[in-house]
Symmetry: C2
Subunit: 307 residues, 2 copies
């Protein structure tokens, strides 16, 4: 409903029809702009990706991704099982020529503004060439969708010197130095939130850990602060006065503000959202998907990958 | 000086004598309990470890570590170049039989109390057997030095199921399941700060990233909060009222409260401190080293590793 107000987007809601209708019921909307597509199969959050592909062909994920292969549907957005979305997108849409594996990019807030980190968890054991391919795609995404004119790209490592880290990292560093004009070299995890560069490339295991540590730390810091504040009435008053400002901080630290996480590398626009996405997060994911369509990022990524 | 007050410890200060004397000058102390050992070579924070070993044999790190091989010195503490301390300790002290590589353990604050994470950065490309050896030593350390009666040990992974993660992680999981009685399986990065277990084992690349992300996030959150608060006088008053409680939070999030990080696996007690350690951090590192000595952890680790 929020997205309909914001632009002239048309939305197909794919899932168990009864449940969707029940959610839609309280609203009045232009019925030409909302379509409901019934899919009886439901993919659980813990279902292995293979189950989705082989046994749940009538799920929102399988059917939704397949819609992109026909006419009239330009982007697929899901807040469901990430592994299943990655697998279904890879199998049904295929890859952009020259890209071997898809990766998930996330926008994270930094002291300066934000940074785009990729891969956030689609791949646990990639090769150096995969990271180079992701860097080329991330560059396009940050320019076109996030509007950074000349993004700087860094490789996540445990030291800045090019001799640091594993053999895997050193090899990736060499390939990026040769191929990427805007590669600034290794960046440390402590640089991520300082906003040292616009794009941070790493394998999905590491990216997932960075994401989870920061989410968890923000959450738990909040819980700790509340616990401490409740111990003192003076502190409670202080917190009350601070509240409007702290809300702004929280918003800065809230990933959902930036909408979904694009799955780049597959031959279509796919956006993955957190299972606990707010209304705003979904609306922002729809907006980001629209920008991807308008800026023709699939075509542009193909051009850059071919170079 | 603080450590001298706290216990009957004797301290040898190893380094450039003039500089040490200058720092000691303002204090009155029992000169029998402070010894100064002059070492003219200085290891820079960016010197490769090999330089320390081959060319700077008269540095505080080389000389200090070697003191442990003689009589009368029971622990070495350094806030210098970590790589150099790890290399010098490994080469001069040798390893505990059955341990192939040393690892750095750090105490991190959690919602419940704290957790011990190892390796925090000594090894970037370990084998599953190394992680198992670290787990056995971490178990001893947490029991003896941190006083946790029956510590639970987790393996850092990107999912809880034993099929998750890389081949490396799955193999490590299998070895730990077989060998460790108190192994609770995989833990996710988001569990770390929730205090799901007492010991978290991971490779040094990952451990270092967890450490740096959390340090950096805490620092930058502080900077962000200050920036926001300064925008409103009401918020500034609120912050003033909150200050005593926020200080407690900050202390909870301050790694230095727990003193240094033990280097486990070498045949001697070595403690590594942050280059920016406070007085309190160094004092606490000395206290932790004393506890290691009193609880004979080297002997106990040898026993456990041999089992």
């Amino acid at each position: 409903m929020e997205a309909l107000k914001e632009s002239d987007v048309k939305i197909a809601l794919v899932g168990v029809e009864d449940q969707i209708r029940k959610e839609l019921d309280p609203y009045t909307y232009d019925s030409d702009r909302i379509e409901v597509i019934h899919t009886p199969d439901v993919v659980g959050m813990d279902d292995p990706a293979t189950v989705t592909i082989r046994k749940k062909r009538n799920s929102s994920i399988s059917v939704g991704v397949n819609l992109l292969k026909g006419e009239g549907y330009s982007a697929f957005i899901s807040a469901g099982n990430t592994g299943a979305v990655v697998a279904a997108s890879t199998i049904y849409l295929g890859m952009i020529p020259g890209v071997e594996r898809p990766a998930i990019g996330i926008v994270i807030p930094t002291l300066k503004s934000f940074a785009f980190l990729m891969d956030a968890g689609a791949n646990t054991g990639p090769k150096p060439a995969h990271l180079l391919q992701w860097a080329v795609m991330a560059d396009v995404y940050v320019r076109e969708v996030l509007g950074v004119a000349d993004p700087e790209i860094g490789l996540l490592n445990i030291g800045e010197e090019e001799t640091k880290g594993t053999e895997f990292i050193r090899e990736t560093h060499g390939m990026m130095t040769e191929r990427l004009k805007n590669f600034i070299g290794n960046v440390e995890a402590s640089d991520v939130f300082r906003g040292k560069c616009d794009c941070i490339i790493c394998d999905g295991f590491l990216g997932n850990v960075v994401l989870k540590v920061s989410e968890s730390l923000t959450e738990n810091a909040g819980a700790l602060i509340k616990r401490e504040i409740k111990k003192s009435p003076v502190a409670m008053l202080g917190a009350l006065l601070l509240k409007p400002r702290l809300k702004r901080i929280r918003r800065l630290a809230d990933y959902s503000e930036y909408g979904g996480a694009p799955l780049l590398g597959v031959n279509g626009i796919v956006m993955i959202c957190h299972g606990r996405s707010s209304v705003k997060a979904i609306k922002n994911a729809i907006r980001a998907a629209r920008t991807e369509i308008e800026h023709q990022i699939i075509r542009k990524m193909k051009v850059e990958i071919e170079k």
